[in-house]
């Protein structure tokens, strides 16, 4: 059994539990019989509210699958996943869609924005879809935080890659989701633009109390997190708190070495 479970604490705000999302004995397998491939092998994970969690691991370790399962984008073969107190495993598409819309934010590696909508329309899209009015003050703050005030009327094609990702971050933040999932959000950016985006994510955790889970293979990106989970062969093999880039890099090298010797 692999585990990255923290001792449950009760947080001080809103009576919510201190754990924003948890996975219990999650199995994700593809195919059957001889060709069965296990992407997640009985994974237990707690995502702590108000923390920035990074999930790392080599290609094929199952890190993206874990994120997709936690975010309700993918179904699991076994085990349970909870978002706050809601079990999302077994929910029908309609409920899952609502859940994603109202309680989860996403930042993908690329193709985050609808080319037909301008920046501000993209940012408010999840709320528009839900038929909710965005909280004006909050929206302004988010826009200001990600530094997009002058470009709100621009279409995605008129924005640089870094700006596009910042719009995606703003969109994820604007709806005040319980949790934001990022899938290599800086994977397509140069280091400066990447640092900018990661800075915003960090600030949103520190200043806005946002919970963020990010899949990455970049040690520098991981160093912005409060906690790093390491996945290998569908299991959680290690975790690290308050990491630095060097620590993460060393740990990764360590895995690589072990991978080669074993």
């Amino acid at each position: 059994m692999t585990s990255a479970v923290t001792i449950p604490r009760h947080g001080g705000t809103g009576g919510r539990t201190a754990v924003a999302a948890r996975a219990r004995q999650v199995v994700k397998a593809y195919g059957s019989g001889e060709t069965r491939v296990v992407a997640l092998d009985h994974v237990d994970v707690d995502i702590v509210r108000g923390q920035f969690t990074a999930i790392m691991g080599p290609s094929g370790s199952g890190k993206s699958t874990l994120m997709h399962c936690l975010a309700g984008l993918d179904t699991v073969t076994g085990g349970q996943i909870y978002l706050d107190d809601t079990e999302i495993t077994g929910l029908k598409d309609k409920k899952l869609t609502q859940l994603r819309r109202d309680r989860i934010g996403f930042i993908f590696q690329a193709f985050n924005l609808l080319p037909t909508l301008n920046a501000i329309e993209n940012i408010t899209l999840p709320m528009d879809i839900a038929g909710r009015k965005p909280d004006r003050a909050w929206l302004d703050r988010v826009v200001e935080t990600v530094g997009l005030a002058g470009r709100l009327k621009h279409r995605p094609t008129q924005l640089s890659g870094g700006q596009q990702q910042r719009v995606a971050v703003a969109r994820a933040l604007a709806a005040r989701p319980e949790i934001i999932f990022g899938d290599e959000p800086t994977g397509n950016l140069d280091s400066r633009a990447g640092a900018e985006v990661l800075g915003f994510l960090r600030r949103s955790v520190d200043e806005l109390g946002q919970t963020i889970v990010m899949v990455t293979h970049d040690p520098v990106a991981a160093s912005y997190a409060d906690r790093v989970l390491y996945l290998a062969d569908g299991r959680i093999v290690d975790e690290m708190h308050q990491p630095t880039a060097d620590q993460v890099l060393d740990r990764m090298k360590d895995f690589d070495a072990r991978g080669r010797t074993s």
Binding site: T97, F111, L117, I129
Partner: protein, 860 residues
């Protein structure tokens, strides 16, 4: 070779995306082939029939028509005396000669006074049972007719009207009404497409149809062994002299065939025309498909270019794909065409037209033409997208596959489109203002063509504008989903424009024809109200003349103030300027006709034209030949002598009813045309005494119904309704044929949406990930579809109403004075198009909803 291989692989890889284009090609080719097979089969059927039914040589009276139609406007067939029989028999090479009597002017009714004539418009033939018939027909029950009270009927008619041996039938002719009982039923050995045939014995036929014995309408001559038909004809002519019409079997068949052919050709070319429209619409669909495939494959094409493919090769590979599509669609289309032909034959069967699949004729030219058309059209349509593919730079392989660069409609395109539209508008304006129909119709045709092309060219620009308006009006209600639908429709205006334009073509024609049709009804109604002073009009349902007994019956009807007879006589006119005008018609009527139809005159009083040896001419004729009041015109009646008539009135050309008529009185005509050659009435008008209209109408109906069911009496209200129904029926038929083009256009909408959904897989995935529900997604696609369809409908209806209004202005010269826009039809089409949009989105929306979110995101 590699080109072919990549093309083939691409074709197979995208077979789903090609399916709708292939269907469009299939439908158009099928319609072309179906039309050809159907008309060829009809030809074969008639050919066989005419071959079988004519004897070696036929002798008939000089006045009878070439095709042996034994009818004339006197209600009695032209005849030859029995004495010719002996002279023919005496000719060399004659084995036998038999005199027969036939007429196509009789009406046959059953005991319930129901007509036994075919509803298909095929003739009702009453004739004597003779040896020639005995060869081509087989008596399936009962016996051949013998004696005055027996009649034999053909099997199809017996079957349809459920006639049994012993049933009573009545034969109504100008001679009188003859009653007989069914003695037998005979079936054709070849296919009889629809004529109803009744046989009497020779004497009875002579008495019933001609009213005299010792005369024949035809003499069927059979050649002795070794004598050709041509030789026989020569011998017969030598024996008879030139006073008779002598034709070989071949000549009769050809003459018959010519009559049939002219009708079939109208049908054939009309249907091919509609197939052409469907092809035109299909072109848009094919262009869209290939444009989208090329856009989706930009990176792939870039890679091919990067590794060394030449532009030409890329270009050719796309064209080869089009070729494959064209061949596949056409081959299936040819097969489906035969199916359509068989379907049409069955449909004809429902309308009393019997065709046998044994006669199914597929000439080699039919599949050849179908294939050629399908392939050429497909490859031509794919040419532009192929060229665009060739222009893809090798750099495209490295770039992100973003939105296609041609999102903005080019300025050049806009200028060309606007110029074309303006030129078209100018032509239409010229057509509307033309004061001569011929010149005007040229302008109209040019205007229609130019505005159509112009609209197609500026379609993308219009799309950008109109979709925004539609968005503001309709889509607002649907909130963000509506907004996204609007943006999606606007994303590639060229695609939206082309998809909408395809729908536009069909709907423009619908709108144009409906405007012209309802203007016709409105104008005619208006004219009827203004000029017609009679209450009732009596007509034959098949456009035949009215027998004298019926006219007597009408005259005896109580409650009538006056009855006017009206007939047409053929004549050759010699005018004071010395010109001889052949083939003119003289409208002979009772003097009361001047009250029944208040035709305006430019000179004289029309009532005077009915005085003895007087006539009227129309303005145009008078002007052309320098005729003034008092001029004398020599009228050489085709069926009589030459009369010298004085012109006492000149009628205005600004009329609708009886335009170009030249009136005289029946009494005048009767002085120059012998009674036995005087045509019967074409129309009879009756006017009720004041206050007795309702009663008289009822009485007239009753009088005709019992004894003369072939005639219908209508008052003005019913006449207008009949006119409206007639035009409505014609329009419905045309709409039915246009449905093909509209179906292809709807396929185009489905195609565009389906390909757009594929193209936007990642976007859809993203939207689903951030919380767009399936229902919202489906609604978004449906709304996009509705917007495209409504856009097409707006263009089409606008354009079509413009065309229709112009046509009306032009046709005002021909009396189409009133412009009436049929708003119910227009609104119906508009609302219908929105539903078409919904319908077209069904499958694409369903498939988009079913898309797996993760796969969608992962798609590169």
């Amino acid at each position: 070779m590699t080109v072919l291989k990549t093309s083939l692989r691409n074709f197979l890889a995208h077979k789903g995306r090609m399916a709708l284009s292939a269907t469009a090609v299939l439908l158009s080719v099928a319609f072309v082939c179906g039309t050809l097979v159907f008309t060829d089969t009809m030809n074969t059927t008639f050919d066989k029939l005419f071959q079988a039914t004519s004897s070696d040589v036929t002798v008939s009276a000089k006045g009878s028509s070439d095709s042996g139609e034994t009818t004339s406007r006197t209600g009695k067939p032209p005849v030859v005396p029995a004495s010719v029989l002996g002279r023919i028999r005496g000719a060399e090479g004659v084995r036998s000669a038999e005199g027969t009597v036939f007429s196509t002017s009789a009406t046959v009714v059953d005991a319930d006074k129901d007509k036994l004539s075919p509803s298909s418009g095929a003739p009702t033939i009453v004739g004597s049972w003779n040896g020639n018939d005995a060869r081509t027909m087989e008596i399936t029950s009962g016996t051949a007719p013998k004696g005055p009270d027996q009649v034999m009927v053909d099997a199809d008619t017996a079957d349809k009207h459920d006639l049994k041996l012993g049933d009573e039938i009545g034969v109504i002719t100008a001679v009188g009404t003859h009653h007989a009982r069914v003695s037998g039923v005979a079936a054709f050995k070849v296919t009889n497409p629809g004529a109803a045939i009744f046989y009497l014995d020779k004497k009875t036929a002579q008495r019933t149809l001609v009213g005299a014995t010792g005369v024949y309408t035809n003499v069927n001559v059979t050649a002795a062994k070794g004598v050709t038909d041509e030789q026989l004809k020569k011998n017969v002519v030598a024996a008879l002299g030139h006073g008779y019409k002598v034709q070989t079997a071949k000549e009769v068949a050809e003459a018959n065939q010519k009559d049939v052919q002219s009708i079939l050709n109208v049908m054939k070319y009309a249907m091919l025309g509609f197939a052409g429209i469907a092809f035109l619409v299909g072109i848009f669909l094919i262009i869209n498909t290939f444009s989208m495939l090329v856009a989706q494959r930009t990176r792939e094409i870039g890679l091919m270019r990067a590794i060394g493919s030449s532009r030409k090769q890329i270009n050719r590979s796309v064209l080869v794909e089009a070729l494959l599509l064209g061949v596949l669609g056409s081959v299936l289309g040819v097969g489906a065409g035969v199916g359509i032909a068989i379907g049409l034959m069955k449909l004809m069967g429902l309308m009393d037209m019997h065709l046998s699949t044994d006669d199914l004729t597929v000439a080699w030219t039919t599949p050849a033409l179908g294939l050629l058309l399908g392939v050429v059209v497909t490859v031509l349509a794919a040419y532009l997208p192929a060229r665009r593919a060739g222009k893809v730079s090798p750099m495209a392989a490295l770039r992100d596959a973003g939105a296609p660069a041609d999102a903005r409609a080019g300025a050049v395109r806009a200028v060309i489109g606007l110029l074309l539209t303006a030129a078209g508008g100018g032509s239409l304006y010229a057509a509307a203002g033309a004061d001569e129909a011929k010149a005007g119709s040229g302008w109209l045709g040019l205007g229609v063509l130019l505005t159509l092309i112009g609209f197609v060219v500026i379609g993308p620009l219009l799309a950008a504008g109109l979709v925004r308006v539609l968005g503001a009006v309709i889509l607002r209600i649907f909130g963000p989903v509506g907004r996204m639908a609007e943006r999606n429709a606007l994303r590639n205006p060229r695609r939206t424009g082309a998809t909408g334009a395809a729908l536009m073509i069909g709907l423009a024609l619908v709108a144009c024809l409906s405007v012209v049709g309802s203007s016709m009804v409105a104008s005619a109604t208006d004219q009827l109200d203004k000029t017609v002073g009679t209450d009732f009009i009596v007509q034959d349902d098949n456009g035949k003349e009215i027998v004298p007994q019926a006219v007597e019956a009408i005259k005896k009807t109580p409650g009538l103030e006056r009855v006017t007879e009206y007939r047409l006589l053929d004549a050759t006119l010699t005018t004071p300027d010395g010109t001889v005008s052949k083939g003119e018609s003289i409208n002979a009527a009772d003097p009361t006709y001047a009250q029944d139809l208040r035709t305006k005159t430019v000179a004289g009083d029309l009532a005077d034209a009915y005085k003895p040896d007087s006539m009227s001419v129309f303005e145009g004729f008078a002007g052309k030949h320098g005729i003034k009041l008092g001029s004398t015109v020599a009228v050489d009646f085709a069926d009589g002598r030459t009369a010298r008539l004085t012109v006492r009135a000149i009628t205005s050309d600004d009329v609708v009813i009886d335009k170009g008529a030249m009136y005289t009185s029946i009494a005048t005509a009767a002085r120059y045309v012998p009674a036995d050659r005087m045509p019967l009435d074409d129309l009879v008008f009756a006017t009720a005494a004041d206050g007795r209209e309702a009663g008289a109408y009822k009485a007239l109906k009753a009088a005709l119904h019992d004894d003369f069911p072939q005639y219908t009496v209508r008052d003005q209200t019913d006449y207008k309704q009949a006119l409206k129904d007639q035009i409505g029926q014609l329009l419905n038929m045309i709409y039915g044929l246009l449905a093909l083009a509209i179906i292809v256009a709807v396929l185009g909408v489905v195609n565009t949406l389906a390909l757009s959904v594929v193209e936007r897989t990642r976007e859809i995935g993203l939207m689903r990930a951030i919380g767009l529900s399936r229902r919202q997604l489906r609604r978004m696609i449906r709304l996009e579809s509705v917007v495209i369809a409504v856009f097409g409908a707006l263009l089409g209806l606008g354009l079509g109403m413009g065309w229709g209004a112009t046509a009306q202005k032009l046709l005002a010269l021909e009396g189409l004075k009133v412009l009436e826009i049929p708003w119910p039809t227009i609104t119906g089409v508009f609302i219908g198009s929105a539903f078409v949009g919904l319908f077209a989105a069904l499958v694409p929306a369903f498939r988009a909803g079913r898309m797996n979110v993760l796969n969608a995101i992962a798609t590169d």
